[in-house]
């Protein structure tokens, strides 16, 4: 995968006569790439603040005691409560719940789940073929 970056460097090493053209192009590419990734980073930050506000509270609680820290903690708690009320923390809880379910599953439960998935797939296939009633007999 890192050869993707290497290809760019090879372009830059092509020779002095091509340098100014390549430099101009790469300066423009760099400006665009930086702007593009900066936007992506801000979107990432927004997603984390909205959907992962609980971890924000855990993090700021480790700041210690002081007037600034207390304000930050109060703001984070208020933010988290608002996110909770709006239902934005639901996806995190649902994902964690699914993983906890998997962690606690025994082999018997696992087999049961596989069987039910198989049955569902068979039922889906039957409906797709146009079958309406139950099986023969």
């Amino acid at each position: 995968m890192l050869d993707l970056i290497r290809e760019i460097e090879t372009d830059l090493e092509d020779g002095w006569e091509a340098a100014s053209r390549v430099e101009l192009q790469t300066a423009e590419h760099t400006r665009r790439a930086v702007a593009r990734f900066t936007r992506a980073l801000w979107i990432t930050l927004a997603i984390m603040l909205v959907f992962n506000s609980e971890r924000l509270v855990t993090w700021v609680n480790g700041f210690g005691v002081g007037p600034v820290q207390d304000t930050v903690v109060a703001l984070s708690v208020a933010w988290n409560e608002r996110m909770l009320a709006s239902g934005f923390t639901e996806p995190s809880l649902a994902a964690r719940g699914k993983v906890d379910e998997l962690r606690g599953a025994s082999w018997a439960e696992f087999e049961l789940r596989v069987d039910s998935e198989r049955a569902r797939a068979r039922e889906g296939a039957r409906l797709l073929r146009g079958g309406l009633g139950g099986g023969p007999g």
Partner: protein, 483 residues
């Protein structure tokens, strides 16, 4: 400051923004990255920033000295002093306690008990990595592979650049310093590669390594006498995956972060558990260390150019010292010595087999292809289990624990506590990725590099959110920080 934390996220956001804003004046940009790197290191323990600086100054001065003289004896003296200086610092911080404890035990056994000057020496994080980078710089200048740097800032940035500072990959001066002389560049390719590596690194570390560590490996290695043989087997497989995901996850994030800052590091792992021989394994595992050991230890010892016996000796010594590099404990020494011995045996057996049936003399055809395929599968299976056997000593806190672990393989009738679908599934998923096409990451990076920024942000943010949401609580440190 660990990579998968909010602190690092904020730190990276600031460094990315400020360093690229300063790109029109490359010298200032380097100073920004240098200040960020020392801040990153000082976050662990500010007292060791001086040690990092002293280590850098030794190598910088030696580089200048090598550039100013052509006298062979003087040049040899300079490189010897610089390498010895670096190794002396590493030796004191890393091996002082181990050496005195071993000496005390030895004296006690001989009935010559003495009061030895024991001290509580704190191991500075990343010391093994920045010492090796410093040695790489001085030796490369000595060999003429790289020019001595006149700019102290460049050498300081090379040794302290934060993505690789505390746990590698070990970057070579000849690879990195030329990048500091070029104008900084960020392309769509850098962004695609960086995003894929950061997401894959976080997933490996936070999901696979952390769950395997807390729910399987730690309890099984804590008391191997209390679990069944199946648990011990799953435990060592789990550790093989844990250490791979932990270390390669760190390397992935480091390489990805460096790419987003416009620098290229070399690959550090290449699906190591698909190796069909130990030699192949060491070409795929911790590549920056194994190539470092090859170029700065194995080859100077004579490599394979001085006859069979010396080749075996050099192989053994290189791996033995590689084992000691990992940590100050006899279990690491055994781990290195075992790999060295097995590499020697493997080489010997292969040469004898090649004499018996030369590889090119075989006839083609389906039978031959099936034979090669079967040989490859057996090779992968055998290599993986040899590596797993050595991992038991690497992970165990003492020979006694390792012994109990091995003895426990007799308890096959006991019921298993840890072979749950979740843990077996994690191991299976990680193993499957050892055999996926090598270009999978490249294809993903190529796909990502053309996406508009809102979609890229949704993928990056959504990926990090999902990993954090399902990862275990808390952030466990990376295994290789202790080295």
């Amino acid at each position: 400051m660990l990579f998968p934390t909010i602190e690092f996220g904020i730190f990276f956001l600031i460094v990315f923004t400020v360093s690229w804003a300063a790109r029109w004046t490359p010298h200032w940009r380097k100073l920004v990255l240098l200040a960020a790197s020392y801040f990153f290191y000082g976050w662990w323990d500010w007292r060791f920033m001086g040690l990092l600086l002293v280590s850098t100054l030794i190598n910088y001065t030696a580089g200048l000295g090598l550039a100013r003289t052509t006298h062979p004896v003087l040049r040899k003296l300079i490189v010897t002093l610089a390498v010895t200086g670096g190794l002396a610092i590493l030796g004191f911080f890393k091996y002082y306690g181990f050496f005195l404890t071993s000496l005390s035990t030895l004296l006690e056994m001989a009935g010559l008990e003495r009061d030895l000057p024991f001290m509580q020496v704190i191991l500075p994080v990343g010391i093994s990595f920045f010492t090796f980078q410093g040695i790489s710089y001085v030796v490369d200048v000595y060999r003429g592979h790289v020019r001595a740097e006149r700019s102290l800032a460049n050498v300081m940035l090379y040794i302290s650049f934060f993505p690789q500072l505390v746990a590698g990959p070990i970057v070579r001066a000849a690879d990195f310093l030329p990048q500091l002389h070029r104008a900084p560049v960020l392309t769509r390719a850098h962004v695609g590669v960086g995003t894929v590596l950061i997401l894959s690194g976080l997933a490996k570390k936070m999901l696979i390594a952390n769950y395997l560590a807390t729910e399987l490996v730690d309890p099984v290695f804590f008391d191997p006498t209390a679990v069944s043989a199946l648990d011990l087997l799953i435990g060592v497989y789990g550790y093989a995956i844990q250490i791979y995901c932990d270390f390669s996850g760190y390397s992935d994030i480091a390489i990805g972060v460096a790419a987003l800052l416009g620098y290229r590091f070399l690959e550090n792992f290449n699906q190591p558990y698909r190796a069909a021989s130990l030699q192949d394994f060491w070409r795929r595992w911790h590549i920056s260390l194994s190539t470092w050991l090859r170029d700065y230890l194995y080859k100077p010892l004579g490599g394979n150019r001085q006859g069979e016996a010396r080749t075996y000796r050099n192989l053994f010594l290189t791996m033995f010292l590689g084992g000691i590099w990992h940590g100050a404990a006899w279990t690491f020494v055994f781990w290195g010595a075992f790999h060295g011995a097995m590499l020697g045996i493997e080489r010997y057996v292969r040469r004898r087999l090649d004499e018996f049936a030369p590889p090119n003399s075989e006839a083609g055809g389906i039978a031959s292809a099936i034979g090669h395929g079967a040989q490859h599968i057996v090779g992968v299976f055998w290599t993986f289990h040899l590596v797993c056997f050595a991992w038991i000593f690497f992970r165990a806190d003492s020979f006694s624990t390792a012994g109990s672990y091995l003895a426990g393989f007799a308890r096959w009738s006991d019921p298993s506590q840890y072979a749950t679908p979740f843990l077996v599934g994690l191991i299976a998923i990680a193993m499957i990725f050892q055999f996926t096409p090598r270009d999978l990451g490249r294809w993903l990076a190529q796909g990502l590099q053309w996406l508009p920024s809102p979609i890229l942000g949704l993928i990056l943010g959504g990926g990090i959110w999902l990993i954090w949401a399902v990862a275990p609580e808390g952030v466990a440190p990376f295994i290789y920080f202790q080295f």
